[in-house]
Amino acid sequence: MIDFELSDEQKQIQSMARAFAREHVLPHAAAWDRETRYPEEVVEAAAELGLLNVGVPEAVGGLGLGMLDEIVIAEELAYACMGFYTILMASDLGLTPIVLAGTAEQQRRFLEPLTTQARLAAFALSEPDNGSDASGLRTQARFEGDEVVLDGTKMWISNGEQASVIVVFATVDVQSGHKGTVAVVVEGGTPGLEANPIHGKLGQRASPTAELVLRGVRVPSANVLGEVGDGFKIAMRTLDRTRVPVAAGSVGVAQRALDEAISYASTRQAFGGPITRFQAIQFKLADMKIGLETARWMTYRAAWLIDRGLPHTEASAIAKCYASDVAFKAAEEALHVHGGYGYVDEFPVGKLMRDVKLNQIYEGTNEIQRVVIARGLMR
C-alpha cells in the first residue's frame, strides 16, 4: 500500500516549522552569513518549540519522533538557512550513536539533559589527515583502570565548541583497522579538550565548526558505546541514518532556489517583457522542479524505510547524493537566472550555492555515497 500523504501531526509540525523558519530564521540568515555569527538565541527558541534534538527516544524524555517527522522539519529550516539547520542536524548526528548503541543507562545520562535545555551534541569522526577513509583514524584511546584516555585531533566538528555531549571515535591500535575502533562519549568542558573555531568557511557560516584537540582527555570507561571494535560500525550505522536529514536539507535549499528563481524571473524585464517568456528560462525552472520532486520523494522513501526498521543504507546514500547534487545545480541555475544580480549578496541565491556545496561534502562526500551504493551492487 502506498500513501504519499503526511499525517495530521506531520502537517502541523510542518506548518509550525515553516512559520518559525520564515519568521525567526529567514530574515536574519544573510546577516549571520555576513558576520559568521552563531545565532544562539534562535537555537534556544527552536529548542523551546521542541525542534532541537528530535531524535531523542521517548524513554529518556524525547518525543519519539520518526525520521519522516524529522525531515519535514529539516526541509522547512533549510529553506530559510541551511547553515542554521546544520546546527540542529549536527546535534542529531551527535546523539544518534548514543541512540543506536548506548545502553539505557548511557541514554539516560547523556540524552535526557539534551531535552530539558538547549544543549547541543556533536559527532567527531573526521581528522586532519583522514575524512573519507574514516577507518584510518589516528586518535588514540587508552584504557587505564576504569577510565579511557583520549589523545588526538578531530577536524571539522560541527558544534564542536558548543556541544555538551561529543561522541569521539578513536582507536586502541592504529594498526588494527576497524577492529581497534571505539566510540567514546566526552562531555564538553572535560579537561584536556580544546576547541579551536575554524574560520573562513565558504558558506553555512551560522553553523560553528571547530578543530578539537584532545590531550590526555579522561572519561569513565562507562562512556564507551558498545565495545572495543564497534566504533567504526557505530559511525557507519549512524551515517546511514543521518544522511537522510542532509538530503532533506538539500531539498529545502532546492525549493528555495526554485522559488527565488521564479520570483526574480517573473519581474525581471528584458527585450520588452519578463524573462519568464523565454523558454530557456522556463526549461531551467522545469528542470529544477524535476530534480526537486524526485529528490524529495527519494528522501521520503529513505526516511520511510528507516521508520519501518527496513534496510536503508543504499536508499539513504542515494537520497543524500542525489538531493545534494540536485540542490547545488538548482542553486547555480537560480543564480544564473538572476544574471549579474545573482553574483552579489543583495540577493540570497549566491548564499544558497555556497551553503549547499557543503551538502555534497559532509557526512561522506558524494563520491563516498557512490562507493557505498556500488559496494551494495557488487555484493
Binding site: 495530521d8 501531526e9 502541523q12 509550525m16 518549540l49 521542541g50 518525543l63 519522533l65
Partner: protein, 256 residues
C-alpha cells in the same frame, strides 16, 4: 472558568487564490486558522497560565478540512474541540445561530471570536453570536482583566479606546495588540493527537438549536473584483522620479 474560542479556517494571507466566474478556487492555497481567532486562543491560554483553573474548548463551523485549523488550536493548548461539519457556506448571522446552540450546551463564562473574519472581511460574527445568545459583548478588544464575575476590557472605537466592564457570560472579539500568539510546540502537537475533537453534522446542531441549517441571507449575485496593474514606469533621474512618485502617492493613490 470555561472559555469557548471560536475558530475559522481561512486562506493564508500570502496564499495565491484563483478567481474565476465569481468563485474562488482554494485548492492549492494554504489554509490556516484565522489570525484574529488566534488571539482568542492565546488569550484563553494566558488566562489559564495566570493560575485560573480554566477549561478551553475550541468551536468551529466549517467543512471537513476545517479540522486542520482546529488541530492547530489543540496543539497550541486548547483542551478539546467541537467541529460543526458544514458544507454550506453560512453567512455570519446563520453561523452565529448555529454556534449559539453549541455555546449554550457548553455554558462557558466567556466566548472569544476574532474581531474580523479574514475570508469575507466581515466583523459580524461576534456581535451576531452575542445577539443570538442574548449576552453582552465587547468588540475589537486589546486588553482584558477579570474581577469577580465581571470582565473589564479595553477596546477600539472610532475616536480611540474605551474601557468597559461587562457581566459574565459575555462575548469578546479579539484583535491584534491583545497578545502575541504562540507557535504550537512539538510536544503539544504530539499531545494533541490524544485530545477530543468531536464532529457534529450541521443539520443535527441546527435542529437542536432551532436554527436553519442554511444561509440567513439570500445571495443574488456575487462578483470578484479583478484589479489590473497599472504598469507605469517613472522616467527621469532619481530626483525627478521620486518627486513624481510622491505626487502620485499623495494625489492619486491618496496614501500620503
Amino acid at each position: 472558568m470555561k472559555i469557548v474560542t471560536i475558530l475559522k479556517q481561512v486562506p493564508d494571507a500570502e496564499a495565491r487564490v484563483r478567481a474565476s466566474g465569481g468563485t474562488l478556487d482554494l485548492s492549492g492555497a494554504t489554509l490556516v486558522i484565522d489570525g484574529m481567532d488566534e488571539y482568542g486562543v492565546e488569550e484563553a491560554l494566558r488566562i489559564r497560565e495566570r493560575g485560573m483553573e480554566t477549561e478551553i474548548v475550541a468551536l468551529a463551523c466549517g467543512p471537513e478540512r476545517a479540522a486542520e485549523a482546529i488541530r492547530t488550536a489543540l496543539a497550541m493548548g486548547v483542551d478539546r474541540a467541537v467541529h460543526v461539519v458544514s458544507d454550506v457556506t453560512l453567512d455570519a448571522v446563520a453561523m452565529a445561530r448555529v454556534l449559539a446552540g453549541v455555546v449554550q450546551d457548553e455554558a462557558p463564562e466567556l466566548v472569544f471570536v476574532g474581531g474580523k473574519q479574514a475570508d469575507w472581511d466581515s466583523s459580524a460574527l461576534g456581535p451576531a453570536l452575542a445577539e443570538a445568545l442574548g449576552w453582552p459583548h465587547a468588540d475589537w478588544t486589546t486588553e482584558l482583566t477579570f474581577e469577580d464575575g465581571t470582565i473589564t476590557v479595553t477596546h477600539d472605537i472610532d475616536d480611540g479606546t474605551e474601557t468597559l466592564t461587562l457581566p459574565l457570560p459575555a462575548v469578546v472579539t479579539t484583535q491584534q495588540g491583545l497578545n502575541e500568539p504562540r507557535y504550537p510546540t512539538l510536544p503539544n502537537i504530539m499531545k494533541a493527537k490524544r485530545k477530543t475533537l468531536e464532529a457534529r453534522p450541521l443539520a443535527d446542531v441546527a435542529a437542536a438549536a432551532g436554527a436553519p441549517a442554511d444561509r440567513a441571507t439570500e445571495l443574488r449575485a456575487s462578483e470578484i473584483e479583478a484589479r489590473s496593474r497599472r504598469n507605469v514606469v517613472l522616467d527621469g533621474d532619481a530626483k525627478t522620479a521620486a518627486t513624481e512618485l510622491v505626487r502620485r502617492l499623495r494625489d492619486e493613490a491618496k496614501v500620503l
